[in-house]
């Protein structure tokens, strides 16, 4: 049952989440907190908002978590059908365009998610993009982020990010950015997961964070 707080601002703040994606030298990283909460109550601390779409393509879906789950399943469905129909893998750019188109189709009854896309294209070039809940896209060279701690994350990312980060440095930068930001947000946090995608492999690490 959804409790109405007198100061609840938006449905996008009903669950609470923070996600960030960053580009490095021949690598990308995407990370999210792992809190699953309903208003002020925390229900679980192992709910990642990042889903793997294919070998080198990940999508982060902060926002209303029921929509995150459903929308991620719809995206996987679309990607699988595309692979069968077109006999090729969906590139990150095309995936990003598809997400934007799908969101806009629900312009007047949207999915309450703010997707972030991170991946390597078939030439192993980094690709990151983000968009609002109705599909207005942003193609960034540095980082994209969304969620209830977004303003805190912007401050951290702007200070810590620099071009051509190696996979190890990228991991440090994205982790510090995310953690310092969501520690200032009441409804994000309770653990974090970070995926670093390189041409050879994907390394997934969970962070030990303050559990509050």
């Amino acid at each position: 049952k959804i409790q109405i707080f007198c100061h609840q601002m938006s449905i996008l703040q009903h669950n609470g989440s923070s996600v960030i994606a960053m580009a490095g030298k021949n690598c990308v990283a995407i990370a999210s907190d792992t809190r699953f909460g309903i208003d002020a109550q925390t229900i679980a601390f192992d709910f990642s908002k990042v889903w793997q779409i294919s070998d080198k393509l990940f999508v982060g879906l902060p926002g209303l978590l029921t929509d995150s789950q459903t929308f991620s399943e719809k995206l996987k469905f679309r990607v699988n059908m595309y692979r069968l129909r077109e006999e090729r893998e969906m590139s990150p750019r095309v995936f990003s365009n598809m997400v934007a188109s799908l969101l806009y189709e629900k312009r007047f009854g949207p999915y309450f998610v703010e997707p972030l896309i991170a991946g390597l294209d078939d030439k192993n070039e980094p690709f990151i993009s983000g968009m609002d809940l109705i599909g207005a896209p942003v193609l960034a060279k540095d980082f994209v982020l969304a969620g209830t701690a977004d303003e805190a994350m912007f401050g951290m990312a702007e200070s810590l990010w620099r071009p051509d980060l190696s996979p190890e440095d990228l991991f440090e930068v994205i982790s510090q950015t995310l953690m310092s930001a969501f520690d200032r947000d009441a409804i994000s946090g309770w653990g974090a997961v970070v995926h670093v995608i390189t041409p050879d492999q994907v390394i997934t690490r969970t962070l030990k964070t303050r559990q509050d």
Partner: protein, 236 residues
Amino acid sequence: MGDSRYSFSLTTFSPSGELVQIKYALNAVSQGATSIGIKAKGGVIIATEKKLPLLTDESSVRKIEMLTDNIGVTYSGMGPDFRLLVKQGRSKAQHYYRFWKEPIPVNMMAKEMANIMQEYTQSGGVRPFGVSLLICGYDFRGPQLFQVDPSGSYFQWKATAIGRGMVAAKASLERRYSEDITIDDAIHRAIRIIKSGFQGEIDENNIEVGMITEDSGFVTLSPAKIKDYLEETTLA
């Protein structure tokens, strides 16, 4: 598509398991003007014979049309059916671009055209299209040539011909095709084949040629260029 009195399909199976309407549609195609497609090194060309009644303004008749910047199409069979398919094909291509923000790959375009044509073999109150299409294009998989039939079958070819003169044309293509053929040679060959099947005196207004390469995008040759090629075939 049609009112409720014609909600049944006019294309039905014969006892022997044939869809005779499709067979008859293929007959319409075989009576149509010859069209040829040849995949060359670095591109594809399509060519078609344009024999019109006297006093027709041939420059106003277009038998080769562009579907996208990098995909072109020609046909053998019924002109008006071709016109409709071109319109629907262009629309499908733009829908694809609108959704994926990526130009439609050639094989997907062929698939879309094939699906449209198949629909008309299994819908109420309609007949199959009386055309076979030759679709040529260039994308990340390189140059490609597809044929699409009234049934909705589609095939990828290195070189092929459809229409009246297809038997002689295909025999000629089979004898001398090689994967290293240049665009120029391919055009020569296609024009020569059309010329040999042409009844009467042929000139540059009786042949249309379209081509696509990696750099060029889909273009149709001007009559002046075709005239040059024609003159070269008489010398050879």
